[in-house]
Symmetry: C2
Subunit: 230 residues, 2 copies
């Protein structure tokens, strides 16, 4: 496995830069590469920030990864993926895990896990590299699907924009657990406080109405129904 | 109700600008204000894009709204909320509704609902306006909580950054339903195709471990458990 081999050469601690250093709420910052990887692996849609005519534009788009790079692609984001060469982008992946309901409005918050990646992406032009990146991306969203579905042909590859972004400059923030005012002056108010968790799950596969009878969903899709996502 | 009164004066169709006009995948664009409102009301965390030192930065943060404005606030995003005056921002709210599993990898996609709002925000300084905005924000995330929890005092209000952003320039995209290759040449491959839906639900409230015994969760929190979010 390439992934395992590469992993041994990577620092398990994320390097810090002016952009990724945690300025505040220090307790929520994580420098563990494993946290970054877990956050990226538990989602398949990111929010990509680019500059368009000097203004920020944030678009949702799908992604995949290997040990050192993020792959970005998406029909959703065509205008953004065509951003100028050498232009910096920011990719953010967020899991919303629930509401933090404190005694005071001021202490209300959100339990979440978020990764932010900064860098200058490279547009992949080599067909083999593009195919390998699309494989990562497809398998990231739906493990087993690259083997099952018809793979891109030359024409489709040419019509696909794929960006690759280094994971070198990444920032991770995580908040978990109870509100912070349980031992403060508001504790005497006698108000309930706690969290309201939010969980995302895959449902049962829904067949395309145009599907001829007798074609059943493959095991790698069926097995996902009912499992947690995120 | 202010909300209802204002609504009658608003065009139900979203105005189009160079930034919000749908350049491609036209069938996915919506110009219905009701779609924008439904997308905003079904979430409470957005992705806020700002420029920091000339580079895009995308941060998750909480929001609320009234008929014409979005309210943004969040400890998560302090550096970003302190962006320069008159600097444009972009706020994107996305619901990921599931995977679109086509016969070909090329036609794979995501069912989603997304709203993107462009504008130059205003920092709220008036304490009454700030309080009203925080009420919108609190009630947006957790209806009933503004009445239940202790409201912000003067010191807390001063420590809170609240931005207000016009909803005038908004773009909505929605994709639903089956893959698009059911009537194409790949239909003969005999592969299963369809969608794998993704649903987010509220769990049961979890009490703060520091909560004294005998304090039960209020009805507006308990009633949410098990309901769909998004």
């Amino acid at each position: 496995m390439t992934q395992t081999e590469n992993a041994t050469t990577l620092s398990r601690t994320l390097p810090q830069t002016d952009r990724t250093r945690h300025n505040r709420l220090r307790e929520q910052g994580s420098l563990e590469r494993s946290d970054l990887e877990a956050i990226l692996d538990a989602a398949f849609v990111c929010h990509l920030g680019v500059l368009v005519d000097g203004r920020p534009v944030v678009v949702p788009t799908v992604y995949g990864r290997d040990d050192t790079r993020l792959y970005l692609h998406g029909s959703v984001a065509s205008r953004s993926l065509a951003a100028e060469p050498d232009a910096p982008i920011c990719v953010t992946v967020t899991h919303v895990d629930g509401l933090v309901l404190a005694r005071s409005v001021f202490e209300h918050g959100v339990n979440y896990r978020s990764a932010m990646i900064h860098g200058v992406p490279r547009t992949v032009t080599d067909p083999d590299e593009k195919l390998a990146g699309l494989q990562r991306l497809t398998e990231h969203a739906t493990p087993g699907q690259w083997t099952y579905a018809r793979r891109p042909n030359r024409r489709e590859l040419a019509a696909t924009t794929l960006l690759v972004l280094s994971l070198d400059e990444a920032s991770v923030k995580i908040r978990t657990g109870a509100p912070d005012d349980g031992a403060g002056p508001d504790a005497v108010l006698g108000l309930w406080a706690g969290t309201l968790p939010l969980t995302s799950r895959w449902g049962a596969p829904t067949a395309d109405p145009l599907l001829p009878p007798g074609i059943t969903a493959p095991a790698h899709i069926v097995a996902r129904a009912g499992t947690r996502q995120g």
